[in-house]
Amino acid sequence: MTQGGMDNVHFPHRHLLGIEGLSPEEISILLDRSESYVEQNRRADKTTRILHGRTVINLFFEESTRTRTSFELAAKRLGGDLINMAVATSSVKKGETLIDTAMTLNAMHPDVLVVRHPDSGAVQLLSEKVNCAVINGGDGSHEHPTQALLDALTIRRRLGRLSGLLVAICGDILHSRVARSNIHLLNTMGARVRLIAPKTLIPFEVERMGVEVFHDMAAGIKDCDIVMMLRLQQERMAGNFLPSIREYFHFFGLDYEKLANAKPDALIMHPGPMNRGVEIDTEVADDVGRSVIREQVEMGVAVRMAVLELLTDNLDRGRTAVPKATAPANNKPKKKKVRR
């Protein structure tokens, strides 16, 4: 977590496709750089010219408000040009069509593509076909790297460290890209991760990702420094992952009674948007002493500014100086098993 000497710092990847495979140093570079933007964002004059002349395209194949807006603000505060391309999910098919879209955009010479796609792995596929930097804005249930970074930044600013912390991630782990990115990041940075959910929402063999699994909220939360709640998507009822909202909240919704098992000063996090009364009690969500949910949103802009800056820096270094590879993780063949 070195501060200073920023101008010489460089993030050795062309894209940010995921957290998996990043080293602790690389994550620290991103967090340290983000830190400096937190202050900038609190000033009256928030704009710099770091991205001057750069074109960033938000390419969202899936609905999003906060991530899209956050990237938009980040690019604009750095003085870049940003275009929002909301691609109606229904008109886009997989495979060739996605690649065709990439080729078309590539011909317009953007500098950065921020891509969100409902299919796991789609952002990586697209990144292989373009010359610009690609930031994963969330691919299926796979990764959402900037969310994990903003979560880490929030924690680090509040507790001063990541290493040694006990973090509980609760809820629909199975379908959550936020959970996967956070598991990678927290494990890499030396925190301990617990997952808490009914068994139907725990991915197959997830223990192999270096986490402890709990099916009892009180036991899972016990002694945790951080309680990270995930959004429960209502359509999970239809797939028989759960019987009802009522039962889910009773056993897995965060209320003060369950929270009492965590450390007295444990922080409550949520990537948003929240379902009050489903995964989190409304009073807990609004508890200013415990809940850092709004702070997470603030950190989001700073993190995305840092990522945009560091990736466009690399474009300047010339194609030869930067390894053509994407983040190492994304080159590894992966076991794609999502069961249960």
Binding site: P198, K199, H215, A238, N240, F241, L242, P243, F251, R340
Partner: protein, 433 residues
């Protein structure tokens, strides 16, 4: 009929009994001292009326060397008329039973669990514990609120006489239930193979020109579910095994160390498809009575421990639903009244020891369902049965206690008669002279 409580309760000693406790393998002359609703003491030291362990003020009941054992625990029965069911139960020595959720309304909601339990308690006879539904409305599609139902008192989960047919639903049910350590009980019958079936597929079905249900319907479902149990780590129990192949599948699964269990019901070790005879609808059951080889396999499964328990499968049906052409008649037979007597055939025929038979209808099912019942234990509710294992009688469906008469054992000579049933320290049944 409210039980006497508190200090005024009289202590009662049942002495001079052949005391049988399958859980502790106790088989000795002895007695049981009951204080109010619970067992205060038991053992060989209480065998004699003037024994040293007996308080002076206790009332004494001489058991005349007959067998005194924990009351029977029936792990599966359909409730029908509740009052009739609990009377039938105690006449058969059953003091605790678990009812299927196919009541009206279905037990897929917390309020129904509480309602059934409360109504049963009011009767003050046999205790009724409910199964909760696996799926809403027993439709096999959406999971019921297993966690909340368990908190309300459901002891395990089943869709009763319909199998959970959809493999994904069953997988999720096993997986979700294991979140809370709950047991899923499956009716082992692949519905598409049993559709329109009236009896076991075989020569008898062919001669009677009835649509047969092949034994494969059972083993296919069992093998599928065993794999889903292994996949999910869920706790699976297979109800009323009736086929050689099904039992063999369970035997192998247990050998592999899978945490699964199963039961059968008296018709499947005491009768075979020949009982259908001349279109006798009282012998129309679900699963159907099978071939003689299957019946023998059930006996063997009980003998070698593959089958963990015997349930009555009590299914009361009124005359209107049985007095019909065989194909149209409702399946099911009553079984509470005859559970002990028919099970004792396994003892009289030399297949199992007396304690082993009793274990299958007391501590074994209680253990599977986590009920505090089915064993002699100080401080536990005094639920007992006094019986004569050798007394011979003939099942006469019209004279059985209860409402429904549809016994598949009608006319059968049996050995083993209940002389008294005690629930919470109160004698609640004695046979009419």
């Amino acid at each position: 009929m409210s039980p006497r409580k508190g200090k005024s309760a009289v202590r009662t000693a049942y002495v001079n009994a052949r005391l049988l406790d399958p859980a502790s393998r106790l088989d000795d002359m002895g007695g049981v001292l009951i204080d109010g609703e619970t067992i205060a003491d038991f053992g060989p030291h209480l065998a004699k009326e003037r024994g040293r362990g007996l308080p002076k003020d206790s009332r004494v009941v001489d058991c005349q060397s007959k067998c005194l054992a924990p009351g029977l625990v029936d792990m599966r029965m359909e409730i029908g008329d509740l009052g009739a069911a609990v009377r039938a139960a105690v006449s058969g020595g059953v003091t605790s039973m678990v009812c299927l959720p196919n009541t009206h309304p279905v037990i897929d909601d917390m309020s129904v669990v509480e309602f059934v339990a409360r109504r049963a308690r009011k009767q003050g006879l046999a205790k009724v514990y409910p199964y909760g539904a696996i799926t809403k409305g027993l439709k096999g599609q959406e999971l019921a609120e297993l966690g909340l139902l368990a908190e309300a008192g459901a002891v395990a989960f089943t869709d009763g006489t319909s199998a959970v047919a959809d493999a994904q639903v069953m997988r999720r049910a096993l997986s979700y239930a294991s979140t809370f350590g709950l047991m899923i009980v499956q009716h082992p019958e692949e519905p598409s193979l049993a559709a329109n079936g009236a009896m076991n597929a075989g020569e008898t079905a062919t001669r009677l020109a009835l649509v047969g249900i092949p034994t494969e319907a059972e083993v296919i479902m069992i093998e599928r579910d065993l794999r889903l149990a292994a996949l999910t780590g869920g706790r699976l129990h297979i109800a009323h095994l009736s086929t050689d192949a099904g039992i063999e599948a369970m035997r192998q699964a247990k050998k592999r160390g899978l945490n699964v269990s199963c039961d059968t019901a008296p018709p499947y070790f005491a009768l075979n498809e020949n009982a259908v005879g001349d279109y006798r609808t009282f012998a129309k059951l679900s699963p159907p009575l099978r071939a003689e080889d299957d019946r023998k396999a059930v006996v063997e499964g009980l003998r070698d421990g593959t089958i963990d328990a015997i349930a009555s499968d009590h299914t009361p049906r009124d005359e209107e639903s049985k007095r019909l052409p065989f194909a149209q008649a409702a399946p099911g037979g009553i079984g509470l009244n005859t559970l002990l007597a028919v099970s004792l055939e396994l003892y009289h025929n030399g297949h199992l020891g007396l304690l082993d038979v009793l274990r299958l209808v007391t501590s074994a099912p209680a253990g599977l369902l986590g009920l505090r019942a089915g064993r002699l234990e100080k401080g536990a509710p005094a639920d007992l049965v006094l019986f004569d294992p050798d007394a011979a009688w003939k099942v006469d469906a019209d004279r059985l206690i209860g409402k429904a008469k549809n016994s598949p054992f009608d006319g059968r000579p049996v050995q083993g008669r209940v002389l008294m049933t005690v629930v919470d320290g109160r004698p609640v049944y004695r046979p009419q002279a």
